[in-house]
Amino acid sequence: MRVVQWSERTHRVLDLAWQETARFGHHYLGPEHLVLGVLRDDGSGAARVLEARGVDLAAARAALGRLADRGVVAGPRPSDAELLGMLGIDLEAIRRSTEQAFGGMAVGWAIREATRARGRGGGRVPRTPLGEPPMLISQALQHAGEQARALGLGVVGPELLLLGVVTDIRTPWPRCMRTRWTRQLHASVGLPEGYRGAAGPLLQACGVDLEELGAALVAALGAGVP
């Protein structure tokens, strides 16, 4: 299978998407943040396709804010470091001291061990303050990669990333994404039961026709309809 890489621009979109999570007080990265990240990265083909459909950054942010008010996505929450700080625990000090004592590799191993899904009854904890915030965009990324291969492209740019998000909206999540462990993980970052990415509600709130958007993105990629 051909290896698909991310373009520099896609890495930047991811960075910008993380910045958007902070703006909303979210402690996870979802497809909805990718849409905002694409819009933040002015001048990409993907941003132009969205802007041509009347979706700009301000409108999309406002729409996500309304979704948070309605409980479709999480509302602003304190970070783990802030929560632990309230208990008098310095998360960064613990991170430093454990890494000094055992090394970063061992801490990384312990994080995976403590949070991995288990055969019965899910993981011990879905997530830990010592780990990175969860990225709930695996399906969108997988679709982006598949679309890249289908179109014969070796690099995923923002257009393909957005196409992956659109495909993800229109595809039911597989069973492996609907386990007790994923439900626990979603709940642990304040997401409601049944969350499966909020890019769909976000784009719909902005009045976007998903089918047409997908076709426009494929057209923007300069290839035939797959």
């Binding site: 703006r23 909303f24 007080g25 942010r61 406002a62 996500l64 804010g65 309304r66 979704l67 948070a68 008010d69 509302g75 602003p76 929450r77 304190p78 970070s79 783990d80 802030e82 929560l83 632990l84 700080g85 309230m86 208990l87 625990i89 998360l91 613990i94 454990t98 055992f102 590799m105 061992a106 801490v107 191993w109 312990a110 994080i111 995976r112 061990e113 403590a114 949070t115 991995r116 011990r124 904890v125 997530r127 830990t128 303050p129 010592l130 780990g131 642990s188």
Partner: protein
């Protein structure tokens, strides 16, 4: 308040005492996430230093079956080759 202004979340945390279950419970969940990692780290370290499950369980204040059940199936032990 769907969209938090910069710094607002920090203020939420500072201004809300843990009398508020929403914040208090989230703080406990964060603490549990921390404890599980530290426990895995210490148990793996103790095993690598030759401690028995009995000794580890004694220090953790649980039965040796409990600690064995939880950690015997641990994967990718970072000190074991």
């Amino acid at each position: 308040m769907g969209e938090a202004a910069p710094g607002e979340v920090t203020q939420v945390a500072a201004a809300t005492s843990s009398q508020d279950p929403e914040v208090g419970l989230a703080a406990v969940a964060a603490l549990r996430g921390l404890v599980e990692v530290l426990e895995a780290l210490q148990v793996e370290n103790a095993r690598a230093k030759g401690w028995s499950w009995q000794q580890i369980a004694g220090k953790l204040g649980v039965t040796k079956q409990a600690v064995h059940h939880k950690y015997a199936s641990r994967r990718f032990g970072f000190r074991r080759s």
